[in-house]
Symmetry: C2
Subunit: 186 residues, 2 copies
């Protein structure tokens, strides 16, 4: 950030009075421009022991497989965001979605919040941001072609729970350096 | 937002190509300025059947009681943010913190994520942003003097769980219009 979004004057990067972190501060109109992590809301759509994945039609990670997920929008609840992404990317709706996990990715300032739920009428399709959508059982998951480490972790948690008949709410931290590749999504 | 933080030129509020929502767009340097909900991380510090509350020494809601909580910072995990707030506001540390709930407040673009845990050594004090910190059992909670509706909801959930010996991860949506009073925290 170089300029103040309020008044257009140059900002300074400094610790404001009463704070202990550097912020982008406008000394002209006194606006402090806080920058905070963003929430990615998404879901794990299921049919019995299978999970619905979408192949990305957009960068980053074009052509790789992912769960329906995207940045939470202002005015939405996390669940509304997760269901919107499921609709947009896989033309699908979930029955009785339940919180599945919170995954911190602190080095790119992201917090993933995922819900899981059965696909309504086992119905899905290919949304605009997807090349294809397909159901995978654990042994069929294209592990080497998953788009992001957080997706790998969430799927491993999901299948481990499935085997044990659990419905855990997971919390985990994703630290993989691979994520620096995805910084463009920020 | 009136000006582009990157180049300082005026922004337009319009739907970018390939999008379906209005954003602040700079037609000079082509930056799209996304605005997304922010995470407030906080905690429910406990000693047996009592909960630690802090009386706010800052606006909004100066003088009212709240749980230690505040905006998640870049580079932090949600739990790190929750523990930092507990340290800052109540000079306290939690033993074995566990996820307690996610509370959406969509009309002010906030997502609260709370952890609960026992106070380490039952030790606490009054941080710089607090006037006092005190332990309350359910019957002593100053319900009418709680700072925000989300705090009321989280405490009700906590005490209901306590009675039933449960450790639920709650999800709820806070819709109270009282929140418009707090818009200044945005």
């Amino acid at each position: 950030m170089n300029f103040c979004g309020q008044c257009g004057k140059p900002v300074n990067f400094k610790i404001p009075a009463g704070d202990n972190r550097k912020r982008h501060v406008c000394d002209h109109c006194d606006t402090i421009h806080y920058q905070n992590p963003r929430v990615i809301s998404g879901c794990i759509p299921t049919v019995d022991d299978r999970v619905l994945l979408c192949r990305r039609a957009i960068e980053p990670r074009y052509g790789m497989w992912t769960l329906p997920a995207g940045f939470l929008e202002n005015g939405e609840t996390v669940l509304q965001g997760a269901l919107r992404e499921c609709r947009e990317e896989a033309l699908a709706t979930l029955n009785e979605p339940k919180l599945s996990g919170i995954y911190d990715i602190p080095h790119i300032n992201q917090v993933y919040i995922l819900y899981r739920g059965a696909l309504q009428n086992e119905d899905f399709g290919t949304g605009e941001e997807s090349l294809e959508a397909r159901l995978f059982s654990e042994t069929d998951i294209p592990w080497a072609a998953l788009a992001f480490p957080v997706i790998t972790t969430a799927l491993k948690h999901h299948f481990a729970d499935l085997k044990q008949g659990l419905s855990t709410v997971h919390t985990d931290i994703i630290t993989s350096r691979l994520y620096s590749l995805h910084k463009t999504t920020d």
